[in-house]
Amino acid sequence: MTAQRSAEEILPDDILLDVKNLRKSFPVRKGVFARVRGLVEAVSNISFKVRQGQTLALIGESGSGKTTVARILLRLEEPDGGEVYFQGRNILDIKGRALLDLRRDIQMIFQDPFSSLNPYMTVGQIIGESLRVHKIHSRKEVKNCVQEILEKVGLTQDLYSRYPHEFSGGQRQRIGIGRALTLNPQLIVCDEPVSALDVSVRAQILNLLQDLQETLGLTYIFVGHDLSVIRHVSHEVAVMYMGKIVEMAFASVFFFGPLHPYSEALQSAAPIPDPEARKRRTLLSGDVPNLFSLPPGCRFHTRCPLTKDICSQEEPRLKESSPGHSVACHFRG
């Protein structure tokens, strides 16, 4: 049904990325013959849109599926179903040359600045590698281009031939950001880019990301679990729990008053840096359930303070409670 639609129809005004009904399961293999004994549903039928020049935050804890979504968008993982429209084009069925071109438009910044840089390569090689892969510049131009990038991310040009181990965490993350910028991407997927950094350095990197967004018109998908960081960077947020989006809203609305009990718990769990505001919080009991045996009905009902009979029987659908604010809960919204 989508094949005949023109780009304009699919893409009202300024939507850069439109994800529809994305699904991904991973087989669980066990035993001597590594037979498939079950499926873990990492991403379960999720849809969201990202506007040009804005930041969408994907919030969730370990195992919520947020990183799998990020990897699918970069075509590092093949989904089981769904569509991903980038600038009006479904990027899930492109191949070969076109896929290589797509990779110029979508880049990624990784969580751990210590393991995401090759220790045998110099900074110049790391940042310039993509220019060589995509055969964009001649050798000499590559060097100039890399030096420009270094300046853009707040490093000095003389660091060109240094190796990653000579840098601090914050500087490494700047190198990682530089590498993502070389090909002038439209969309950058940031996978917890500051969670491995110290507070004062964290602020520097967040400022850098924000400056780059403003000057280069970048669009970010910001994956994370730290709400204090998310509040600072995002325009819109989507909260994930066990492979589902449970709440989606504009950041201003979300931080003013989340609707889903899980979002509430997340906000309440984040420590507040004010000793006079110590509070008794709504603690979630228990752990995230095993993805291998999903609870029936609402996936959150095993830990939810509001749970009633209906929650273990029927899965709530994500529905709009007010314009731009959707929630998947039987009692909220």
Partner: protein, 340 residues
């Protein structure tokens, strides 16, 4: 006098110096650290990576890694100087009177032993009189107290079968195995955990402390965690303590420029408008080989004065009872605060 002190202070660290002897020179990684932890209180030790927080913890346990050596100082545990004890006496203290919870619950547990066996090992070392059956009962009791559901079954689980939060609970159960440690050192105990699990673990620390009247040295870089759990705070910078205060005072009336910078760069104040520019501390932590004869924060400080701060290392001064600052420009900072 010593008796009096040991009543008040469970841990009293004085002028602790640890140097690393490397190929490029001697690095004064801990350069005169003073710390006090009172009975039943939590002292938060804050600072950035590489400032010496973890090294302080390791030095207290006399487990400084090579090529480091404790050069000077005294470490009193309830009045007894740990630095003069023979190694076999020290081994009796580790895990019994002082226990430790490390940051990474995956790497601090042994993957090839069941969690029950690992906790039992602590009892085998420190409580050799207990029978096997007694030990097992005790371990199950501990797992239960640490909030682990169905402890009888979990006893036989291996670390990989447990989630991060559960593993950290096992580590805490292990730290409490000998009953009542006088001092619990918790090094970034929740950094590797999800927020909802972090909240559970911090709550558990509070409960244990209330119940056992235990002292905690909590090492973290997260000022939010400090605000929630610490009674007093020591701020560490480049191998020394730069400010020392009651937690409320520190958040309200911090005086050291580094502490002020840290407090300003934290993000989460509900009133703050989203997407504003964040305050950052200019520059980076100085090279340890280049911090002699001046204030360690000199090159990054907005209040620095060349002739004062660039000439000698400032002394720790007590601005009011219990509030100590290592800064020569305190008056300037107070004045600045009044104006703002």
């Amino acid at each position: 006098m010593m008796e009096n002190l040991s009543d008040r202070y469970v841990l009293d660290v004085r002028n602790l110096k640890v140097h690393f002897f490397t190929d490029t020179g001697v690095i004064p990684a801990l350069d005169g650290v003073d710390l006090w932890v009172r009975r039943g209180e939590t002292l938060g030790l804050v600072g950035e990576s590489g400032c010496g927080k973890t090294l302080t913890a390791r030095a207290i346990l006399r487990l400084v890694p090579e090529p480091g050596r404790i050069m000077d100082g005294e470490i009193y545990l309830t009045g007894e100087n740990l630095l003069v004890l023979p190694e076999h006496e020290m081994r009796k203290i580790r895990g019994d009177r002082i226990s430790m919870v490390f940051q990474e619950p995956m790497t601090s547990l042994n993957p090839v032993y069941s969690v029950g066996n690992q906790i039992m090992e602590v009892l085998t070392v420190h409580r050799s009189a207990m029978t096997g059956k007694e030990k097992k009962e005790r371990v199950i009791e501990l797992l239960k107290a640490a909030g682990i559901p169905s402890p009888e079954q979990r006893f036989f689980d291996y670390p990989r079968q447990l989630s991060g939060g559960m593993r950290q609970r096992v580590v805490i159960a292990m730290a409490l195995a000998c009953g009542n440690p006088q001092l619990l050192i918790a090094d970034e105990p929740t950094t590797a955990l999800d927020v909802t699990i972090q909240a559970q673990i911090l709550e558990m620390f509070r409960e244990i402390q209330d119940k056992m009247d235990m002292s905690i040295l909590l090492i973290t870089h997260d000022l939010g965690v400090i605000a929630e759990t610490a009674d007093r705070v020591a701020v560490m910078y480049a191998g020394t303590i730069v400010e020392y205060a009651d937690v409320v005072k520190l958040f309200k009336r911090a005086l050291h420029p580094y502490t002020l910078g840290l407090l300003k760069s934290i993000l989460q104040t509900p009133q703050v408008r989203a997407r504003r520019r964040l305050h950052t501390i200019p520059g980076a932590v100085p090279d340890f080989l280049d911090i002699r004869n001046k204030c360690r924060f000199f090159s990054r400080c907005a209040f620095a004065h060349k002739n004062i701060c660039g000439q000698e290392e400032p002394e720790m001064i007590e601005v009011e009872p219990g509030h100590l600052v290592r800064c020569a420009r305190v008056e300037k900072i107070e004045e600045h605060r009044r104006r703002v």
